[in-house]
Amino acid sequence: MQLHTLSVHQLSELMEKKEVSSEELTRFHLERINQVEDELQAFVTITKEEALAQARAVDEKRARGEKLSLLAGIPMALKDNICTLGVKTTCASKILYNFIPPYDAGVAERLKRADAVLIGKCNMDEFAMGSSTENSGFFSTKNPFNSETVPGGSSGGSAAAVAAGEAAFALGSDTGGSIRQPAAFCGVIGLKPTYGYVSQYGLISYASSLDQIGPLTRDMTDLALILNTICGHDVKDSTTTLAEVPDFRKCLVNDIKGLRIGLPQEYFGTGIKTRLAEKIHEAIRKLEELGAICEEVALPHTEYALPAHYIISSAEASSNLARYDGVRHGLRVEAEDVLNMFKKTRSQGFGAEVKRRIMLGTHFLSTSNYEAYYVKALKVRTLIRQEFDRAFEKFDCLLTPTCPTTAFKIGEKADDPLAMYLSEICTLPVNMAGLPAMSLPFGMIEGLPVGLQLIAPHFTEGTLLRIGYTLEQSTDQTRPMPGLSR
């Protein structure tokens, strides 16, 4: 049976009916990893023994007749910036090459309680800084659709693992598009929840006012199941909402008649590949056919979002990464005095892009630059948020391409940090406003998946699920499968 092509809810049903055990399912996925991982390199760590032990425990619980969650026994992968108790967590950085967290992240704990099986920790751009996973301190990940192209980033490993069937679902993190863009490049669904919906406790920080953990899945029902599990207040993260989390499965409704979808013209501007724009317009026509009302809208401050995002994220990163000093964890380069220990450890432990952003951030926060850069960027955040709020008075949701291109070639943008950052031009403004947004696959161009982005008002993930589910039920374009060599 092609178990690696099934979705979480299908696998859950098979286990419920005792047609497959959790241990068998886990072994199957470990074997799958054996087959494709040499080529893909989606994982930093594969937790074989732990996974089998967890799987056996689930089988025992099921044999005892215990009531289990719908995620019980499901093999999952976590991005390697999510702390997992006793399991190496590196952020794909040499500076954390041997870090073993003494605690589970909030989301890891919730998934553990739901008896999901951790099969491995996924590769990423170092400290989540990048859009291609080429900035990993260890190795690059390949796109399962075309091994000459990138899987996107920074959650490239997570996206590739789900697309290639190495895990039934994964979690990634998104600071400027790092879930959505790799989801688009790898033909899977990726959702960045509303800022404050999912705990950041145990997520190794990049830019705390922008970071958010979210799921990567193969279908919409899976997305609902995982959101049900990971969303909600965490006393250990004071930025999480106290609002009650609905049962997201109730939002999986095959009906979008009368739904008003805005098309921000700034996102369809120059830089977007013609054939990709055509594909997005095809999706718009399909949505109209299904009863949605699609109309153009202007978001004139969009062009300021990227520079402002770059400033805020670098500034916050320079502060968040100050803790990597060789004192308490990770790499330490010995030196005669503490200052040199700091300098050598950090210089040898961090990659080039990380150092670049730390220095940029330091520059923006220095006294003479603070007002002109950092405070200005914070004002742009206010403007972006207000602009989205105004658009949502007229529309239930906004639709844009996730990325101006499909997956680009390995090495194509590696030497041009600005070009790399620009690949997130459609996704960054969303993080500035803290809105929920989802990338949904919609067809392919020249063998590479296309991603459609939907943006909704705060805490209305239900709208995204509804539209995604309706499209999923009405067309076969939302589930491409890569033709891997094996």
């Binding site: 041997n98 870090f99 073993i100 003494p102 800022y195 404050g196 006012s209 006393v235 004071s238 930025t239 909402t241 062009e303 300021y304 520079p307 770059y310 400033i311 320079s318 100050a322 000093d325 060789g326 004192v327 308490r328 990770g330 790499l331 330490r332 010995e334 005095d337 503490v338 220990m341 700091f342 300098k343 050598k344 950090r346 210089s347 961090f350 150092k355 670049r356 730390i358 220095m359 940029l360 330091t362 520059h363 220095s366 630059n369 002109a372 850069y373 405070v375 200005k376 960027a377 914070l378 004002k379 742009v380 955040r381 206010t382 403007l383 948020r385 940090p417 600005l418 406003a433 803290g434």
Partner: protein, 96 residues
């Protein structure tokens, strides 16, 4: 108004962020940072003088919890990651 970054600025940023750059690194870094900063000049076209800055997007303020003692992390597992430890503390080169 935002100016281009010089090699001296890069050296200063490196000092503040405890990074060690070779002369070549400094030159390369100055170049790439300048390209990025040129792009930032876009922000000069925007008059945001009447806008309030947002440090974050949520309408949350002063989220406190009760000052109640709860178990902390297990000391052994925390020290387990230490490059060097002694007598239950992180050991570092002499500071004073």
């Amino acid at each position: 108004m935002p100016m281009k970054i010089t090699e001296k600025d890069v050296e200063q940023a490196a000092l503040l962020s405890r990074l060690e750059l070779t002369a070549q690194d400094t030159t390369d870094c100055t170049k790439s940072l300048n390209t990025i900063l040129e792009y930032m000049d876009k922000l000069n076209n925007l008059d945001a003088s009447t806008v309030d800055p947002s440090a974050h997007v949520l309408r949350l303020k002063n989220v406190f919890r009760e000052d109640k003692r709860e178990p902390s992390l297990n000391k052994e597992s925390v020290l387990g990651n230490a490059p060097e430890e002694q007598a239950g503390a992180f050991k570092v080169p002499r500071i004073v």
